[in-house]
C-alpha cells in the first residue's frame, strides 16, 4: 500500500460544507466563504483517524488522502 500523506480537495466538487474543518481543525481552516484552506503539511499520525473520517464524511465526496505534489 502506498503511503497516503496529505489531505487534498477536488476544488470543483467542493461545495464548502465545512465538515472537514470541524473534524480536522489542525489541518484545515475555512476562508471567508466557507471553503477549505488546506496546507501541504503531512498528516501527523495522531490525527490520521480524524483525517480519514473527514474524507468519508465529506458530503460532496471532494476530500481525499493523497501523496504530496
Amino acid at each position: 500500500m502506498t503511503k497516503q500523506d496529505v489531505l487534498a480537495v477536488d476544488r470543483i466538487r467542493c461545495d464548502g460544507h465545512g465538515v472537514c474543518a470541524e473534524l480536522v481543525p489542525e489541518l484545515i481552516e475555512l476562508d471567508d466563504w466557507g471553503y477549505p484552506i488546506i496546507g501541504n503539511a503531512p498528516i501527523p499520525d495522531a490525527i490520521r483517524a480524524h483525517a480519514r473520517r473527514a474524507v468519508s464524511s465529506c458530503p460532496a465526496l471532494a476530500l481525499r488522502l493523497g501523496v504530496p505534489e
Binding site: R11, R13, C14, D15, D31, D32, W33, G34, Y35, I37
Partner: protein, 407 residues
C-alpha cells in the same frame, strides 16, 4: 527589425496558399525521428502563456504507454488583448498545419483537432480553406472544432473537456491532458504559434532558430502591441530585444506612458521606466518576476488611471470564471468588487487590507489557474499603482480628475 521567421514572405494579404507556401519554404523533411531532440536544442518554449519547454512536453506525451495519441492545436485565443494567434492563422495557416502534422508524425498520433475560437471567423475560414488544400492523409486525420467564446476556453483541460463532452470548462487535474486527454488518450495540446515555430525549426534546424534571437535569447516571438502606441499591431520580434525596441518598431508611444501591461490579463503591470529595458525572453522575464504570457504588450498612457484599468480587468476576469470552484466564484468576485469600490472612491484602507488578505489565502485553490492569474495582476497593480491607490483611498482623488480639470 530583421530576423523574422513566421511572418517572413508575402505581405499580410489573406492566407498564403499551399502551393506558394511549399514553393517558398520547401517540403517538410521526411519522417524526423530526432525532431524532439532538435526542438530541445532549439530552446523553443510554448507561446500560449506558460512558456513550457516544447521538447519536454512532447517527451511527456511520448513516454505514455498507449497506442494512440492525439494532437490538439490550440487557437482559442481567449485573451482579450491578444491578436497574434488569429493573425498567424489568417496569413500563415500552413505553417500551423505543418507543425501539427509534424507533431502527429513524431508522436504517432492518428487524430489532430484544430480547436479554434468560434468568434475568430477569419481564422476559422483560413484554417478551413488551408486544410482543404492538404493531402488526403492530413485531411482525414484532422477535425476542426470551434471553441465557445470565453477566457477559460483555451485552458488545456477545458479544450480536452470540450472535445470530449462539449463542455469548454477546466477539469480537475491530475490526470493532465498528456496523461489522459481526448478520448482518454495521451494528448499534446500546443498553441498555434508554437506549432508554426516547429514547422520552421524542422526545416531549418535548431541552430538557425537560436541565431534568430538577440542577447543570448533564441528564436522569435509574435507580440500584440496595443494601448498608447503609434500603431496597434501584431509584430514578430527576435527574442531578446528590449520592450523599448518593440515599441520603437511600431512607431513609438503616442502619449507619455505610466506603465505597461505585459503578458495580458494573466500577466502584470510594470512601471514604464522599469519596463523599457526588459528583454523579450520568457525565462529572463520570469526571473525578474514578470511574464511574457501570450505576448501581449499594452502601453498605459499617463493620463489614464491605473486603478480603474486594473478594476476593469479584475471585473472581467471575475465574470469569466468557469464558476466551478468556490475560491474563484466567491473570492475572485469579492476582490474584483472591492477593487471596483476603490476605483469608484467608495472604499477605505480596510477594504484594501481585506483584498490583500483574500489574495493571500486564495492562491492555488482553483482547479485551474484562472484565479492565480488574476491575483498576479492584482499584486502588480497594488505595487505599480500604489500612489494612485492611496490617492483614491485617502484623498478621494483620481488621475482622471486632472484630465477633467484640464478639459
Amino acid at each position: 527589425m530583421s530576423g523574422i521567421s513566421l511572418l517572413a514572405g508575402p505581405d499580410r494579404n489573406g492566407p498564403e496558399r499551399f502551393s506558394d507556401h511549399m514553393a517558398r519554404l520547401g517540403p517538410l523533411p521526411p519522417d524526423a525521428p530526432s525532431l524532439i531532440d532538435v526542438l530541445d536544442r532549439s530552446g523553443l518554449r510554448g507561446c500560449g502563456g506558460a512558456a513550457f519547454p516544447v521538447a519536454a512536453k512532447w517527451r511527456a506525451v511520448a513516454a505514455q504507454h498507449s497506442g494512440e495519441r492525439v494532437i490538439v492545436v490550440n487557437g482559442a485565443e481567449g485573451e482579450p488583448l491578444s491578436r497574434k494567434d488569429r493573425l498567424l492563422m489568417q496569413v500563415r495557416p500552413h505553417l500551423v498545419l505543418d507543425g501539427a502534422m509534424l507533431a502527429a508524425e513524431t508522436l504517432r498520433a492518428e487524430r489532430v483537432f484544430l480547436y479554434l475560437g468560434a468568434e475568430h471567423t477569419g481564422a476559422v475560414r483560413a484554417m478551413t480553406g488551408a486544410l482543404q488544400e492538404r493531402s488526403e492523409t492530413d485531411r482525414r486525420r484532422t477535425r476542426l472544432v470551434t471553441a465557445p467564446v470565453g477566457y477559460v476556453s483555451g485552458e488545456e483541460s477545458a479544450a480536452v473537456h470540450f472535445i470530449n463532452d462539449g463542455v469548454a470548462l477546466p477539469t480537475t487535474t491530475p490526470p493532465r491532458p498528456y496523461q489522459r486527454g481526448v478520448g482518454g488518450r495521451p494528448t499534446l495540446i500546443q498553441n498555434v504559434e508554437t506549432l508554426a515555430h516547429v514547422a520552421m525549426i524542422a526545416r531549418f534546424g535548431a541552430d538557425w532558430f537560436r541565431q534568430l534571437g538577440r542577447s543570448g535569447s533564441t528564436g522569435t516571438a509574435l507580440l500584440t502591441v496595443s494601448g498608447a502606441v503609434a500603431a496597434q499591431t501584431v509584430i514578430e520580434v527576435p527574442q531578446g530585444v528590449t520592450l523599448a525596441e518593440v515599441v520603437d518598431a511600431v512607431g513609438g508611444t503616442s502619449a507619455r506612458a505610466s506603465a505597461v501591461l505585459l503578458g495580458g490579463y494573466f500577466g502584470g503591470w510594470i512601471a514604464a521606466e522599469q519596463a523599457w529595458d526588459l528583454h523579450v525572453d520568457a525565462a529572463s522575464l520570469k526571473t525578474g518576476g514578470h511574464t511574457l504570457g501570450c505576448g501581449v504588450l499594452a502601453v498605459l498612457a499617463a493620463s489614464r488611471c491605473g486603478v480603474i484599468e486594473s478594476s476593469r480587468i479584475l471585473t472581467y476576469l471575475g465574470d469569466q470564471s468557469a464558476r466551478q470552484c468556490g475560491p474563484c466564484v466567491f473570492g475572485l468576485r469579492a476582490i474584483a468588487d472591492a477593487v471596483h469600490s476603490v476605483a469608484a472612491r467608495r472604499a477605505d484602507a480596510n477594504d484594501i487590507a481585506r483584498v490583500r488578505r483574500w489574495a493571500g489565502v486564495l492562491g492555488g485553490r482553483g482547479a485551474c489557474h484562472h484565479p492565480d492569474g488574476a491575483f498576479g495582476l492584482l499584486h502588480s497593480a497594488l505595487r505599480v499603482f500604489a500612489a494612485e491607490f492611496s490617492a483614491h483611498l485617502e484623498r478621494g482623488r483620481c488621475t482622471l480628475d486632472a484630465r477633467a480639470a484640464a478639459a
